[in-house]
């Protein structure tokens, strides 16, 4: 058996794990990342396929230059990344048979006015939403949709919120609680303009890897965690498997980027208190759905536009980009009616109809579906519904989770995973000194 020793070992090389590792390595901690797959990045990279860069998950830097991912790169002095566009990404909402571009300051307010039947309704709804943001946060005992029905049955307004919620949270407005949504909204208010990268999100993962390796850290691929070593209620390291060989890594701190359920499995259920197990069971619930990469010779939607469609059978979010070889690519997330239980086959057939309705020029543009994928269960859009995450610390001392199941309030997806890493590293720096 091989043996290694370090300050911090990180299981999984997703954006949470890589941000944590880069921050730790940069501040003098001997850091090791292990990744079971042959590539690093998890759901935050891309794979070249037939000349297209296909993201494994993340696509956009949601909070722009105010994004924890972007902050991390700056703070660890990572090599620069190149944006695909200057200026904000146009966001178009197709609802009530019309297109509306959400633009500039006070855009949401303008949009509510646009979707309302009259001025009275607009004023009433804006006031209620303001109160929910600034005064009394609605509880988690009611879904957002039901909460809004107390004040209006205007379908266009409900559709507007379904657009926002399903696109940002990966769950429907009738699934997310009112409290969850307002917590996400408060965070979004702090974000900058979202952007996409010229060479895709892999640039970010590569930049972080460079920082880790440049600071005496290591990243092992094809290395699978088999066990988190727990002694006297504290984590002492891990046992991994690398090319059939056992590898023991002794560490002062263990960070898991493999998801809380996997963390529990690796450390042994008996080492956790029951309340924690129950919390994970109830709250770590993936945001799921189907994702399509559509390519065309002519643009169906001008890059880098985002189009939300509420008039279709499902809520769809179409994101346009250029492909390296001068073609066009539209990525689509289609959110099932129930993100907990759905038939992918049924959803696929529904999507084909939606696609035809949204882009009557589909055939004329030379459009085709390059790939359809299901994001679900252990490979989800988000590991937990945004606004409903658990904490980063576990009942086992020196064992943390990072990633999109343990996002601090107000963040989403990769953005939140990077923020969870920042919080964890700050805690480690206060508790343990590097060797």
């Amino acid at each position: 058996m091989e043996r290694e020793k370090c300050d911090c070992v990180i299981i999984g090389s997703g954006i949470g794990g890589m941000c944590a590792a880069a921050r730790l390595a940069c501040s003098g901690y001997k850091t090791m990342v292990i990744e079971k797959l042959p590539i690093i990045g998890g759901r935050y990279t891309q794979i070249d396929y037939k000349g297209y860069k296909i993201p494994t998950g993340a696509w956009m830097i949601l909070y722009g230059k105010n994004d924890p991912v972007y902050h991390t790169l700056t703070e660890v002095k990572a090599p620069g990344i190149e944006m695909a566009h200057t200026g904000p990404i146009p966001q178009i909402y197709r609802l009530g048979g019309k297109d509306y571009e959400m633009k500039g300051k006070g855009a949401l307010r303008d949009m509510i006015s646009w979707a309302s039947r009259d001025k009275d309704e607009a004023d009433r709804v804006v006031t209620l939403l303001k109160r929910a943001m600034l005064w009394y946060e609605p509880p988690d005992t009611i879904t957002f949709d039901d909460w809004l029905f107390q004040y209006t049955d205007n379908k266009t307004l409900h559709d507007l919120y379904q657009c926002l919620i399903a696109a940002w949270c990966g769950a429907n407005s009738w699934e997310i609680t009112a409290g969850q949504w307002f917590r996400v909204l408060k965070g979004m208010a702090l974000g900058g303009n979202p952007f996409i990268l010229k060479n895709g999100v892999k640039d970010i993962i590569d930049a972080l890897e460079k920082v880790i390796k440049g600071n005496k850290g290591e990243v092992f691929t094809k290395t699978r965690a088999r066990k988190i070593i727990v002694e006297d209620g504290a984590a002492r390291g891990i046992i991994a498997e690398r090319q059939g060989e056992r590898l023991e890594i002794e560490a002062k701190t263990v960070i898991s980027n493999a998801g809380p359920r996997k963390t529990i499995e690796l450390a042994g259920e008996n080492n956790f208190d029951r309340a924690y197990l129950k919390e994970v069971q109830q709250r770590v619930r993936p945001a799921a759905g189907i994702d399509y990469m559509i390519v065309s010779d002519e643009p169906m939607l001008e890059p880098p536009t985002v189009l939300f469609t509420a008039d279709t059978r499902r809520l769809e979010c179409f994101m346009a980009d250029r492909s390296p070889q001068g073609k066009y690519i539209v990525r689509t997330a289609s959110v099932p009616e129930s993100t907990v239980l759905y038939s992918p086959t049924k959803e696929y057939n529904i999507f084909l109809q939606d696609l035809k309705d949204t882009f009557p020029n589909f055939d004329k543009c030379g459009g085709k579906i390059l790939i359809a994928r299901n994001f679900y269960d252990e490979w989800p859009f988000y590991r937990s519904w945004p606004g409903d995450c658990i904490g980063q610390k576990t009942p086992i001392e020196s064992l943390y989770n990072v990633g999109d199941a343990v996002i601090p309030e107000g963040y989403i997806g990769g953005t939140g995973a990077a923020e969870s890493a920042r919080v964890v590293v700050e805690d480690i720096q206060a508790r343990v000194k590097p060797d």
């Binding site: 797959l37 992918p344 994928r373 299901n374 994001f375 269960d377 490979w379």
Partner: protein, 58 residues
């Protein structure tokens, strides 16, 4: 030896489709990956890439 799909585990995430050097994998509307046995040359590259360990040697 040949690669088979454990249907119960496959989510249809398509990572194997993206990395297969032979372009032998497809995600049909069932969202359980389909391996074209005529194209697959048993390079087994896909085995290590499956995030949910749904691909096995048989």
């Amino acid at each position: 030896m040949t690669v088979v799909v454990e249907e119960r585990k496959c989510l249809g995430c398509a990572i194997c489709v993206l990395i297969c050097p032979q372009d032998a994998m497809r995600i049909p509307p069932s969202f359980i990956v389909n391996i074209d046995k005529n194209k697959c040359n048993d390079c087994r590259e896909c085995l290590g890439f499956c995030p949910v360990d749904a691909l096995k040697e048989a």
